[in-house]
């Protein structure tokens, strides 16, 4: 009995170790995406490469990918070549986490000279060379430097040749090399704590605690699935794609102790870099199912196993090499809404209406203006920002305004972004009337306006969807507002791809809203009044979608003018 208690204590400890490992990475990383946005993950593994615990960070996209990664490393490095103080590395999209901008570092852990397990971590870096971060590549070779699974350090000695090659191939070499060291350091932090734990509990191997964790997780997950009624349902969703629409199709089977999720029938490969390696598809499909069915069970090899995800090779959600995949997130983030279209038919009143889905990210490549002499202070700079539209309304709650789902990354403060490069964010605020009407309203999207400091021009790399395919409502809820993008001089712009913005012009953006849930006429009047008072909706929407009376509209607006709120 007391051994059960020590196993519990050790499980808690391992979860704490990986959280700490992730914190170490956040604090030492250079890429804005890691340090400000939380685009990283960290985990601990047993000797066979089974993931025992994973830090809860901003990226469900790393969930299964990380769970599979270490097995690839064991296979390719070879067990006989694993030494103390080794550090392994890759950015292979198919063996890591889906694109070359993610670097995965794995380190073996040793205790008393004996190999006992592994630590792994992944971070999104700002630049890996090639065309730069965007959808424009025609194959993966154009997307930057490839680092196959190999040793970054053997017995503590760093491979200087590799470092040299990396430095010559990327735009921000100091930062990238700094990030690789940060990844290695974060694994070291984990190892130190693991050794402390093994000493305290007098362990020579992790086998027993691994079995305890995996058995309990498996049983709990299976209990959750077994409690559901068996059944089959299909779902689908069409989205913008690069130049032609893409349809995502899914079939879900709840079968006793497992859930099978297959994407047969989805569109084929796209010519541009929005294709998705299967690891990433698995991650987002699995994340969606876990949120709805077993949210409190921590991620590990056993708790993920009962969710079986597949897709036909050559489809956009199982893109083989050398397909371009840099912006795999644009499609990947749409998978939960697709899965929920099917799951809603099996588990009513559980999942939200569709939301913005994909993060509304863009990269700005600034340079001194070329149409006229540039001032001496003008410089080149790359600035990446993470932004969110509105989330879908829930069966019992409104959608979250300007909040990422399914991704969990954070936005960067505007003041920090403007220190990172000569960019000016002129506007970043909520977009009224963008949340789909419903008994529960979709979350609001947001407005942004982006320009450059005097003397600069820039390329704007757009990564947006839902321009032509806004989020669809559920059970009578209405659609959210679509994405819009244009230049301040009225010149139209596309939702995806690199586009030039001349000196003095801005990019005017409106990010999509989430869709509504349930019929708008069933929305309670107090909520409609509150939305009107706060300016989440206009008087027109209150009148036309929710049939609020003229006298109510007048009195609410009069009160709002005096700052009165309606609870």
């Amino acid at each position: 009995m007391t051994s059960t208690i020590s196993n519990q204590v050790m499980w808690n400890r391992l979860i704490s170790v990986v959280e700490e490992q992730a914190q170490a990475l956040v604090r030492t990383a250079f890429s804005t995406s890691v340090r400000e946005a939380g685009d990283l993950s960290a985990g601990v593994y047993d000797m066979k490469g089974n993931m025992l615990a994973q830090a809860v960070t901003g990226t469900p996209g790393h969930v299964n990918a990380m769970a599979d990664a270490v097995a690839h490393f064991i296979r390719e490095i070879g067990e006989e070549n694993i030494f103390e103080q080794d550090v392994y590395i890759t950015n292979d999209p198919w063996k890591g986490t889906g694109h070359r901008h993610d670097i995965t570092v794995v380190s073996p852990a040793f205790h008393h000279g004996k190999h006992v397990g592994f630590f792994g971590c992944t971070a999104h870096i700002t630049d890996i060379g090639g065309r730069g971060f965007g959808a424009d590549a025609n194959d993966v070779f154009e997307e930057g430097l490839a680092i196959p699974i190999m040793k970054f350090a053997e017995r503590g000695d760093v491979d200087k040749t590799l470092v040299k090659i990396i430095r010559e191939n990327v735009r921000e070499p100091d930062q990238l090399v700094g990030d690789v060291y940060a990844l290695a350091t974060c694994n070291e932090v984990g190892q130190r704590r693991l050794v402390e734990m093994m000493t305290e509990f007098n362990l020579s191997a992790l086998d027993d605690v691994a079995t305890f964790i995996l058995e309990n997780s498996r049983r709990a997950t299976i209990e959750r699935i077994a409690a559901l009624t068996n059944g089959t349902a299909t779902g689908e969703m069409t989205i913008d794609g690069f130049d032609k629409p893409i349809t995502l199709k899914v079939r879900l089977d709840i079968e006793n102790e497992r859930i099978v999720c297959d994407f047969d029938g989805s569109s084929g490969l796209d010519k541009k870099g929005i294709n998705v390696p299967l690891v990433y598809t698995k991650a987002y499909a699995c994340y969606a199912l876990k949120c709805a069915i077993a949210p409190e069970i921590p991620n590990n090899a056993a708790s993920l196993a009962p969710f079986e995800i597949s897709a036909p090779e050559g489809s956009i959600v199982n893109a083989p090499p050398p397909a371009p995949v840099a912006l795999r997130h644009v499609i990947g983030h749409m998978l939960p809404d697709t899965v929920y279209d099917a799951l809603d038919k099996l588990l009513p009143e559980t999942v939200p209406a569709e939301g913005a889905g994909s993060l509304c990210n863009f990269q700005v490549s600034l340079r001194p203006r070329m149409d006229a002499p540039a001032p001496p202070h003008a410089r080149r700079s790359e600035v990446l920002t993470f932004n969110s539209g509105g989330a879908g309304a829930r069966p019992a709650y409104d959608g979250l305004n300007a909040t990422a789902f399914p991704s969990g990354v954070m936005t960067m403060p505007v003041e920090a972004t403007e220190h990172a490069g000569p960019v000016i964010i002129w506007r970043k605020e909520l977009r009224p009337d963008s949340g789909g009407a419903g008994a529960h309203r979709g979350g609001l999207g947001q407005f942004m306006e982006v320009g450059a400091v005097e003397g600069h021009e820039f390329d704007f790399s757009a990564m947006f969807d839902r321009v032509n395919h806004p989020a669809r409502g559920r059970r009578g809820g209405l659609s959210g507002a679509p994405t819009t993008i244009a230049r301040s001089d009225g010149e139209p712009m596309r939702g995806k791809g690199k586009q030039f913005v001349p000196h003095g012009e801005k990019v005017m953006l409106a990010f999509p809203g989430g869709a509504g849930y349930g019929e708008p006429k069933n929305r309670d009047t107090a909520s409609v009044k509150r939305d009107l008072a706060r300016g989440y909706i206009s008087a027109e929407t209150a009148r036309n979608e929710y049939a609020l009376s003229e006298s109510d509209i007048e009195s609410v607006l009069a009160g709002a003018k005096n700052g009165e709120d309606i609870k």
């Binding site: 949120c291 220190h419 605020e429 700052g563 709120d565």
Partner: protein
């Protein structure tokens, strides 16, 4: 009776208001129930009690120092004045959009906490300052005047002004204040460039709004308190404890009430720091555990570690990100939802989980016999023999072990197939492990090795768990000071007058400008000193200079402390060297080839620390006398052991006790595990070491 004036410390907590009076070497204390509607009632009541006990008259009191959770509670309960925000056009929703992320990744029904101000109370002006402080769109005075008319018509009492990049150039914010002063002379105005001059708009705006929101409430309360004290004859100055661990004047407290947030726990850390100084301990982990939460703080060189930003009013299981950020100088404490009242349950993986839900004092743990049915940490402690059912809280509360047993077996043991004792062991191990994990993570984040630390444990539940915590953390020594139940209020009396002034100004070392740096430090020193001078006209004022630095491109700054000489004669090489030393201490290795930048400059002006009476090592004087025996469970051995009961009030200096043992007093019980041995120090601290 001493000629020295008496000093009174007052801590308003959630349940109790603690009052401590010190005169010469003597200390008198009391606890009265907090009176929410008029907190000054409890203060006056408590002060009357300690004056009565000590025979001190109001005229003999030289100073009253006050700390309070009122500011924190007002933010948690959203009880504040009718407040407006004035911000830059295009940025109306900064405090509502937060970080655009979910603080709990797997909850589909997550609800965000409401922002302090709803959208219709947030107004904008057409103006813009750039990142380097340059004006991109000038502010028109007529626009401000028009807005002031609108705000006046709407009847706002307090106005927060938060404009983009105002930490780099406050001109526009100051113009807004000038116009408001003319148009709305009765309204209180908080400028973000004064309340929290830090880069990162969400933190700065929210802090400024929090200040404006609670300012009228705190100002009236402090005025009322002062009036009441004067009525009963206290003419001495009244000072306020601030979140950074120092004391400020009541006027400055009324101008920057947001600095009072978390002042109570800050007092606890100062209390521990003072004990550390008396015992000459340069590395201390303070551990304060009460009914609902536990707090942990690192204290180095007798100074609690500080931070620049923290989170209050967490709305979701103490989860990081579910509250709101306040960026002010603050003692860096980790708070965990783990206390005596924390409730245990079994999750779907058949694992025991403890807290953060708490049984509170009503109904309380099952053993209180007040119809609480779910098992709390106190129930586990009782079953394990850490508490005496017939002698809890000085015998004022009878405990019911059979109720604990039933709660533990019904809610946990039945599912886990464990008996009551094993279940209780599991609950205690889980809660201790939660606290140990938090302490470990905090230590690693600060590049510290806890095995070199001494623990100082206080608060009602801490001595019950501290011994096991030390075992888990590899800490060899701990002290349990006397008066631990009113530690915060005692800490207030030990706190120096202090104020920290900060400024966000970016400077790369490759473009280091000694003149700017020197000027900046001079300005900050003048600003900080003037606050301290207003409290004490004569004392020496010490200035601590600090910068926050990072490699260009990183997002986290690390604090780097400079000597006064280094701050005056600054050059880039010194900064580079100090940064590298600190970076290696935290992260193990430096990164070559990167430029380094300074992002924040800070000066903390403080009066010299309270004089310390060093405590000499006590001579060993034989074993303490046992007052009976008790059987208790030793978690490190995984079995029951039997040990003596020692009464703390008859435990003499120099006497030793070998674990296992229990040392009982009215306020709490110290559990001495088998692995530890204790000696009473001359100042009454119980000094516990690894045997």
């Amino acid at each position: 009776m001493s000629d020295q004036p008496a000093r009174i410390g007052v801590d308003i907590g959630g349940t109790f208001t603690d009052v401590v009076l010190e005169i010469g070497e003597k200390r008198f204390s009391t606890k009265v129930l907090t009176t929410y509607s008029a907190p000054e009632d409890a203060i006056l009541d408590g002060i009357e009690q300690v004056c009565g006990k000590s025979g001190v008259t109001p005229a003999q009191v030289g100073r009253i120092v006050h700390g309070t959770t009122l500011a924190t509670n007002a933010l948690i309960e959203r009880r504040g004045a009718k407040t407006a925000l004035i911000t830059t056009q295009g940025f109306r929703d900064v405090i509502e959009m937060r970080t655009e992320s979910r603080f709990e990744q797997y909850d589909l029904n997550l609800v965000m906490p409401e922002p302090l101000l709803p959208r219709q109370r947030r107004y904008t002006l057409n103006e813009r300052v750039g990142a380097s402080g340059d004006v991109l769109i000038p502010l028109e005075r007529s626009d401000v005047e028009a807005l002031a008319d609108t705000l006046k018509a709407a009847g706002y009492e307090s106005i927060a002004v938060g404009l983009l990049h105002s930490y780099a150039n406050p001109d526009h914010e100051q113009m807004v204040r000038d116009v408001l002063a003319a148009k709305m002379p009765d309204a209180l105005v908080s400028l973000s460039s004064e309340v929290s001059p830090q880069m990162r708009e969400y933190e700065r705006f929210n802090t400024t709004i929090a200040n404006a929101f609670i300012q009228p409430l705190m100002k009236t309360y402090l005025d009322r308190l002062l009036g009441r004290l004067q009525t009963v004859g206290f003419d001495c100055p009244v000072f306020l404890m601030h979140s950074g661990g120092g004391v400020i004047s009541i006027t400055d407290a009324a101008a920057f009430p947001v600095r009072l947030v978390e002042s109570g726990p800050a007092g606890g850390a100062v209390f521990a720091a003072n004990i550390a100084a008396q015992h000459g301990l340069d590395k201390v982990l303070s551990f304060d555990m009460g009914g609902t939460t536990a707090k942990i703080c690192l204290i180095k060189n007798y100074t609690p570690k500080t931070a620049r930003v923290f989170e209050v009013a967490r709305s979701y299981r103490f989860k990081k990100g579910s509250g709101m950020p306040i960026s002010i100088p603050v003692i860096d404490m980790v708070e965990i939802g783990a206390g005596g009242g924390s409730i245990a349950h079994v999750d779907s993986m058949r694992q025991i989980r403890v807290g953060p839900e708490s049984a509170g004092s009503e109904p309380g743990p099952a053993c209180y016999g007040r119809s609480g049915e779910r098992p709390a940490v106190t129930d586990a402690d009782l079953i394990l023999g850490k508490l005496d059912a017939n002698n809890f809280a000085g015998g004022s509360i009878t405990l019911y072990p059979e109720a604990s047993e039933k709660a533990l077996t019904t809610h946990l043991g039945a599912t886990l197939d464990m008996d009551a004792e094993t279940t209780a062991f599991g609950v205690a191990e889980v809660v201790d492990e939660n606290m140990a994990n938090a302490a470990r993570v905090h230590a690693v984040e600060n590049g510290e090795d806890l095995s070199e630390y001494t623990m100082i444990a206080f608060g009602g539940a801490a001595p019950l768990h501290a011994g096991r915590l030390c075992e888990k953390l590899g800490i060899d020594r701990m002290l349990v000071p006397p008066g631990a139940g009113v530690g915060s209020a005692i800490g207030f009396l030990r706190a120096p007058f202090s104020f920290e002034a900060t400024r966000s100004i970016y400077m790369r070392l490759s473009e280091f400008n000694a003149e700017t740096a020197g000027g900046l430090f001079r300005d900050l020193e003048n600003e900080a000193s003037s606050f301290v001078r207003s409290c004490d006209a004569d004392s020496d004022i010490l200035a601590e200079h600090k910068v926050y630095m990072r490699y260009t491109g990183q997002g986290w700054e690390i604090p780097v402390t400079l000597t006064a000489a280094q701050a005056k004669e600054s050059n880039a090489e010194t900064y580079a060297r100090l940064f590298e030393e600190n970076y290696i201490a935290l992260f193990g290795r430096a990164v070559e080839g990167l430029d380094v930048e300074i992002t924040v400059w800070a000066v903390n002006a403080t009066t010299p620390p309270a004089p310390v009476n060093p405590v000499a090592q006590a001579d060993t004087k034989g074993a303490a006398t046992a007052d009976g025996k008790r059987s208790l469970f030793d978690p490190a051995l995984g079995k029951r052991v039997e040990g003596p009961i020692i009464q703390r009030d008859t435990y003499e200096t120099g006497q030793t006790v070998n674990g296992p043992a229990v040392i009982v007093e009215e306020e709490t019980t110290i559990i001495l595990p088998t692995s530890r041995t204790a000696i009473r120090a001359a100042d009454g601290c119980i000094d516990i070491r690894k045997a």
